[in-house]
Every structure is written in C-alpha cells, then in structure tokens.
Symmetry: C2
Amino acid sequence: MSIRIGILGYGNLGRGVECAVKQNSDMELAAVFTRRDPVQIKIRSAETPVYSIREITEHQNEIDVLIICGGSATDLPEQTPEYVNYFNVIDSFDTHAKIPEHFANVDKAAKQAGKIGIISVGWDPGMFSLNRVYAGAVLPEGASYTFWGKGVSQGHSDAIRRIAGVADARQYTIPVPAALEAVRNGENPQLTTRQKHTRDCYVVAQEGADLPRIEQEIKEMPNYFADYDTTVHFISQEELDKEHSGIPHGGFVIRSGNTGWDGEHQHVIEYSLKLDSNPEFTASVLAAYARAAYRMQKEGMSGCKTVLDVAPAYLCRQSGEELRRELL
Amino acid sequence: MSIRIGILGYGNLGRGVECAVKQNSDMELAAVFTRRDPVQIKIRSAETPVYSIREITEHQNEIDVLIICGGSATDLPEQTPEYVNYFNVIDSFDTHAKIPEHFANVDKAAKQAGKIGIISVGWDPGMFSLNRVYAGAVLPEGASYTFWGKGVSQGHSDAIRRIAGVADARQYTIPVPAALEAVRNGENPQLTTRQKHTRDCYVVAQEGADLPRIEQEIKEMPNYFADYDTTVHFISQEELDKEHSGIPHGGFVIRSGNTGWDGEHQHVIEYSLKLDSNPEFTASVLAAYARAAYRMQKEGMSGCKTVLDVAPAYLCRQSGEELRRELL
C-alpha cells in the first residue's frame, strides 16, 4: 500500500513536493490543500483532488503524512502545531533562533495526538545539520564551517525589490574562494562575515530611477548587505528573465579536526550541494522524511522530531536487508 | 558518569580508539584486552589495566561498551557474536559480501543477551554508507559513485610484499581526476574499474632481485592490479620509511540526480574525506558509535545495528536541546 501524501500550500515548495512524490513509487499524492479558492488551482497530478484548507480535517483518514509547504515567518508556527493534531506532518521551518520554541509547540500537540511531526527538514536546516552533527561527533576536536552558495537568496532579492525605483532584482550569495580554500586546507581560519561570502545583485531599475542612490541603498542596508562586499549590476528586465530566472543554490559544510595522542593527525570532512532548484531539492528531502514519519508512527513513536532524531534507514524505500546488502 | 570503554586488540585501530576516548570527555578507557601476554603490552593510558582476552568475561561489570579492534577476515566473525553475549559491542567489519551473515549472527546473540552490537562502523562501511543512503533517499532518480583515495591500501601493500624478491612495499589507490570531474558535472558516466582508480606502488626490492619480473608480477596480479593502470616505483627502504610511513586515506561519495516533473533540474551531492590517519579516523567513528550503543541499550533497545539504524543525535555528547539550538 502506498504512503498517502497530502500537500498544504501549492507554491514553489508544494509543486516541488508534487514532483518528488511522483519519483517515489511507494507514495501517492492523495490531496492538495490551499488557502486560495481550490477551483483556481491547477495542479499537475491529474487524479489528485484540490481542497480548501477549511475542510482539511474532513480528510484526516485519506492522508498518511501532510507536508506543510508554508513560510517560516507566519505560516508554520501556526500550521504545524495545529495540523499535527490530525496528521503526521513534515515542515521546513528554517528560522534557526525559533526552532526550540517551534519544537516544543509541535512536540506537545504531537504527543497528545499520537502523531509524528518532523520539523526543519530541507538542506539547511536539514542535510547540512546532519553533516554538522556527524562531523562534530566524529571529530570532537576541530572546527566546522558552513558556506552557502552560489545561489539565489529569496530574502535578499525581496529586500532589494522593496527599494524605491527598483522594478525587479535577483541576489546571489557566493562563498569567497580563498576562505573555502583555507578551510579545506585545515587552516581553521577565523573568518568575518565579509570574508566568508560576497553578494552579487542583478537589479532592474524603473525608468528614470536614480541608479547611484539605489546602489548605495543596497550596499548600506543593515544585516542584509552592509557587512558584505556587494556588487550591483543594473540590467534589463529581459536579461533578468533570460539569465536569472532559475532558483539555484547550494553550499558547503566543512569540518577539520585532529586525532592522535597529541592531535598530530589532521582530517577534513566536506559535504557539498550543487542544486539547480532549491525548492525542488528541499521538497525531495521533505518527501524522504515523510516516509520516515509514516514508518516511525506505525512503530508506535510520537512527538516532534528533527532530522537528528531519525535513523537513516527510515528514509529509504529499501528494507534493512536490502540496504545492508547494497549500500552499506 | 563516564561511559566505560573497553578495547579488544591493541594494534593500529586499538591505539586509535585509545586516542579517541581521550578526546571525548564523557568516556573513560576502562580496560584493554589482548591475545598477547598483557605484561608485554605497553599502552599510553597510564591508569588503564591491560588484561588477557582469556579473562575478559570476568570484567563484564567494568565495561559499558567493548570496541572490538580485530580484523574482518577471521577475528570479527568470531569475536563480535561471542562478546555481544557479555557487552555492548562495536566493530568495523568491512567484508561487504559477508555483512548479512555477520549481522544475523550478531543480532541473534545480542537479542538474547539484551545488548546492542553495532557492526561495520568506520568510514567505508560507515560514513560513506550513510552518505550513499541519504543521497539515494533524497534523490531517488540518479546515480551514485564512490571513489577511494588518495590513500594507502593495506591489502594491496601486503599483496606486493608477498612477491618473491620484495623487501617492503606501499600501495596508493588514486581516483582518476577525469572520472571524478565527469561525475561532479552530473554526466553520470559508465566507468570501468580502470577508469575510476589508478594504483601507485612504491617497492623496496631485495638485493639482486629481478626488477622487471617483480614489476610484471605486480601489474598482472588478478583482482589486485590486473584491472588497473598500475605504476611501480622502485625505491630504497630509507625513502620508503621517510616518505611513505603514514597511513593516509580518504575518498568521495557523489550522487547526481534529477528532480522536476520531467527531471529538468539536476543536483549534485558530494561527500569527501581527506584523512591523515586511516586507523585513527576509523577509531574516532567507532568511539562516537560506542556512545550511541550505550544510550540505545539504556533505552531498552537490543540487537544488531549498523550506522543506518542509529539516529544521529545518539552520537553526540550534547543533549537534543543543545543540538537543536546550536547545530540544527
């Protein structure tokens, strides 16, 4: 029997989950739920119904795992603790500072309901977290580094778009090659924000806009750009659409550490991702953890989990025997 | 209270575990067991007793986890199923083809004894297995590649040493750069054994030995060298001792895969290790999994496990709360 997946929220991430479910032969897309008028939503899975979020609880028995594809700012803090009362749920909550609070809220509801809620699933938090934890456990004496990019930061692109005179914008976060190299060489450098990443901005200005003023506003924007070496390129809307319409991303988690009686041997562990589509890759991770949630709840577990609490075998279609024979 | 670690077998790996225990503040080395005369064994941990393997079961109550540091050919198939009757155990069994049989033997004994036995821990099998499994779960449509090196292969070095006229030898396994590059670029190449790795041999010949015959015997040795492009360098014992006395290793696990409704987006996941000391790094992984075995058994679990069955949080000194706050 297939694992029946529900999607809540049909944006970039929800569409990515739809694609991911199609790739996993042990899953089927049972329903899509939306805050919009369901009649207006055209999805790609011809046989899957689209329902209003208002009637989601009526479909409790048709869904094994609900993948919640909302935003971390306002959607997930409300939706995940609420819907784990009815479903096993997965979310991609990525506001690092608020994870403890979100975890506590989801855990309480999930335990009462006997459901599993896996939060903060994706690549960071997610696959990158796994690699920080494994590498730190294996090399307790060492230093870990996370670099992001080259990739599009939606938050930074949005911040540029809010500047007066800007019609459209796309921002790339790029690791500084010399910093990456020093870390890879095990030099354990102390790196400032500016030394780790640069920011590259492609901006479409409105006609007659004051370009130097826009460039200055970008470069001086606190938190977003002021601490970075930022480059601003003014281009046409046509060029932006043609050259910068993708949503690539990626990055690196590197730990270097020492072993030996006196720390005489050095080791470098590196994990990297190069992603054509940030939302589709995130969605693929969500789908794998949906499988885990389904199985863990079947085994009688409940409560809030993160990727750190899930044994890898739960993520795989294959049985333990097959995994040991083929992949161990 | 510390986790009391026992080491069985004080060779390169056992000495590495001794160093690893020193780096983990929640562990202490309770005892070393040896098949040799314990009086002859000088260990670096001044306060730790060395006992004969014959009296190991008398020390059952002094050890929380026994790390078995024997060889996969003959030691571990006997020792791990035997000693899991008395201890939680960890081993680094790496004969891939015999893992299912070894798992079954350890599982049966461990379940009867109410102990945990984690087998095949290290980096391959071990950290590389984890990465094959995570990447395969996240990108179900794709191809995975494992490359080893640059590093010293003990088995291949030993095979050269068995040739008549060879005094000493060291063999390096090296990934072919062009193959690595093609895989990283997502080209999903079909690679023969010869296209993936080359073998580099440093050989000390006995005086008067027939060098061309030795070189030919190496290059034509079935399984070990015949399927590879092999280079043989004859050097002096002094040079071997000076330049090739380390035991470095490492390698790469790379998966490229596609997502999207029609597989239109490509992703590359890469994990790599660059290790100064193969046995010390392996030992560090064993120590982290010893912590997991200790905790899992405390929670009432028993039986044989592999790295695929262990949730990452069990490996870490930190609590779940600390991990979520600091590393997720």
